[in-house]
């Protein structure tokens, strides 16, 4: 049997006793943690202001575009967020602060209301009427993957894509192109399309791409600074390996074309056979992220900016090749000015 000297045992016990102490000290100083704001009106205001300050991707651009000063916004709204505000009053203050960003991708979600900025389309004419559209589509139109389509009487294919929220199937696109195969041109009407999945927009756009094409650039934030961005990475569109459309196309737009639909227009404008007709799009070129406030409200904001193929911002929309508005005369005659213009353009 091995005999232990009391001194050696004491040394080992001492070492063993100090080990937890060293470990506790190390643990204490190596916690990965963050500062949480208090769940008070002021705390929620501070948390929201900081989330935008550190994560929102257009602060510098909007400072140049219309003089947005986020620090100045803090000074103004900080005063309004003080005191014993009700939830509704706080919501009003915070939504007002977010409206300074003029961004449709910025929302504040609560159980009683969704804070939003919709002036990008509310302040402009709709240039779209579903009553008029029904005169063109009729009731026996085809409907697949959320898209409505038919051949108009002058042999122009009309495709209405009201949203990119649905997944667009490749087989559906094959069927649509086959159906339109003998048409002289195609109208893609995306008026009122507020976006959805980028991949749906890209799947559709790839059917009009004839060769690998530079369609834009993308960046993301790499840190908390307003100007901490990665390099601009080019985005290329590859032609679809399935049926492709190789005749003229007119894309109809209005101010409600936003987010993924805005991206669709940005991509389509890179193809030589495509022209856009209507009003400027609504924009929304930042990929959104979300975060939460101490009181549980969720905030959505633009986090990753995208640019067109000339490295230009499209956050405030894309101008059409042909600016056309719905006229009262045409409306009275049951005609959609934009569709009629596009039909003539495609025939010419």
């Amino acid at each position: 049997m091995r005999v232990y000297h009391p001194y050696h045992i004491w040394q080992r016990v001492k070492a063993a006793a100090f080990l937890p102490f060293y470990l506790f000290t190390f643990l204490l100083f190596s916690c990965v943690d963050t500062q949480e704001y208090e769940n008070t009106p002021q705390g929620n205001f501070e948390a929201l202001w900081k989330i935008i300050d550190e994560h929102y991707c257009f602060l510098d651009y909007k400072h140049q575009a219309y003089g947005l000063d986020w620090q100045q916004v803090y000074n103004i709204y900080n005063v309004r967020a003080r005191g014993d505000l009700s939830s509704y009053q706080l919501f009003e203050v915070l939504t007002g602060m977010l409206s300074e960003l003029r961004d449709g991708h910025v929302n504040l979600y609560t159980s009683f209301d969704n804070g939003r900025y919709w002036k990008w389309h509310e302040d402009y004419p709709a240039n779209f009427s579903d009553t008029l559209q029904r005169r063109y589509l009729g009731t026996d139109y085809r409907l697949a993957s959320g898209m409505q389509y038919r051949i108009l009487d002058d042999n122009i294919g009309y495709l209405y894509v009201g949203s990119f929220a649905n997944t667009i199937g490749e087989s559906t696109l094959d069927e649509i192109i086959k159906y339109f195969a003998f048409c002289n041109g195609m109208i893609i009407d995306i008026r009122g399309n507020g976006g959805g999945n980028l991949t749906s927009a890209e799947t559709l756009a790839a059917r009009f791409c004839q060769e690998k094409t530079l369609t834009g650039y993308i960046q993301h934030k790499t840190g908390k600074g307003h100007n901490d961005f990665s390099e601009m990475e080019p985005q290329y569109m590859e032609p679809s390996s399935r049926f492709r459309w190789q005749k003229p196309v007119a894309v109809l737009t209005n101010r409600e074309v936003f987010s993924a639909a805005n991206d669709f227009v940005m991509i389509m404008k890179c193809f030589p056979l495509v022209k856009t007709v209507g009003d400027q799009t609504g924009g929304g070129s930042g990929l959104p992220f979300t975060s939460t406030l101490p009181n549980g409200w969720t905030v959505r904001f633009s986090a990753c900016p995208t640019y067109d193929h000339n490295r230009q911002q499209v956050e405030f929309g894309i101008a059409p090749d042909y600016e056309v508005s719905l006229t009262d005369d045409d409306f009275r005659q049951g005609k959609d000015t934009l569709i009629e213009f596009a039909r003539k353009l495609l025939v010419e």
Binding site: V32, T34, H55, S111, T222, E233, T290, G296, W297, A303
Partner: protein, 255 residues
């Protein structure tokens, strides 16, 4: 060819580990989980967590070196402090360790020191987000590790107390960059420091277990204990922690 060699090695490892002189432990754990992931939210999420832990370790007294393998499955459902939004966490951790052992105090005390390789696969899902709601957790860590096991008798019963501590050293982990979307990483294939080398400073992940076995038979024991798994990382200007505290109960089977 490489996959065949890998399969043969795996089979050999499994058959070797199933031989006599091993101890298999099946444990169920329940407790609390604390999550912070600043990519998803600035808020901390707290709630209930469940764990299944399987341990297989060498139990041959005369061997100097022992292998220990642990499989840990975790699932947690957590809420923010306002109880409005939810984050779900699921993860799998594999620990493969090799230890040098020393027997002291007439073989009552067994000290083991060595290192282990930890592989982590998991997700955190923020249920209120429509955009970028998921954070993937993939990591590989090298962790210095120690185990102390003490056998004793009390009230004519045989008990074994065991403490295991795993501390961080080096590793590598996946992380999106600060404001980088998963769309950009996986749909566009844009890489930006998404595979990040880590150290005990940037990823101070700790894990400890304190358990007590009550020998109810020659080969069977009942084990109760505590598992603390404190996974942390601060990379790409993002902060993440998943702290799991579990009360464990299960059985030990000696072959």
């Amino acid at each position: 060819m490489r996959s065949k060699i890998l399969a043969i090695v795996t089979l050999l490892a499994l058959s070797a580990s199933a031989q006599e002189g091993t101890r298999s432990v099946h444990l169920l754990g329940v407790g609390n989980t604390n999550i912070l992931d600043t990519y998803l939210s600035q808020e901390k999420y707290k709630g209930d967590g469940f764990t299944y832990l399987y341990i297989r370790e060498g139990a041959t007294p005369e061997k100097r070196w022992n292998n220990v393998i642990e499989h840990e499955l975790d699932f947690s459902t957590t809420e923010d402090r306002s109880k409005t939004t939810t984050e779900l966490e699921a993860g799998y951790n594999l620990y493969w360790g090799r230890y040098r052992q020393w027997r002291l105090l007439d073989d009552h005390l067994r000290l083991q020191a060595g290192g282990l390789i930890n592989g982590t696969l998991g997700i955190i899902y923020h249920t209120s987000s429509a955009n970028n709601p998921v954070q993937a957790r993939v990591a590989l860590n090298l962790m210095p590790s120690g185990i102390a096991t003490y056998d004793f008798r009390l009230w004519k019963q045989h008990f074994t107390a065991r403490y295991e501590l795993n501390v961080p050293l080096l590793g590598v982990m996946f992380s999106p960059n600060y404001g980088q979307s998963y769309y950009e990483i996986f749909s566009l294939g844009n890489y930006d420091h998404n595979v990040v080398p880590t150290t005990f400073v940037s990823a101070p992940t700790f894990r400890q277990q304190l358990t007590l076995d009550w020998q109810t038979g020659d080969r069977i024991a009942i084990r109760i204990g505590y598992l603390g798994n404190y996974q942390q990382a601060a990379v790409n200007n993002l902060k993440q922690h998943v702290y799991a505290n579990r009360f464990l109960i299960g059985i030990v089977v000696k072959r």
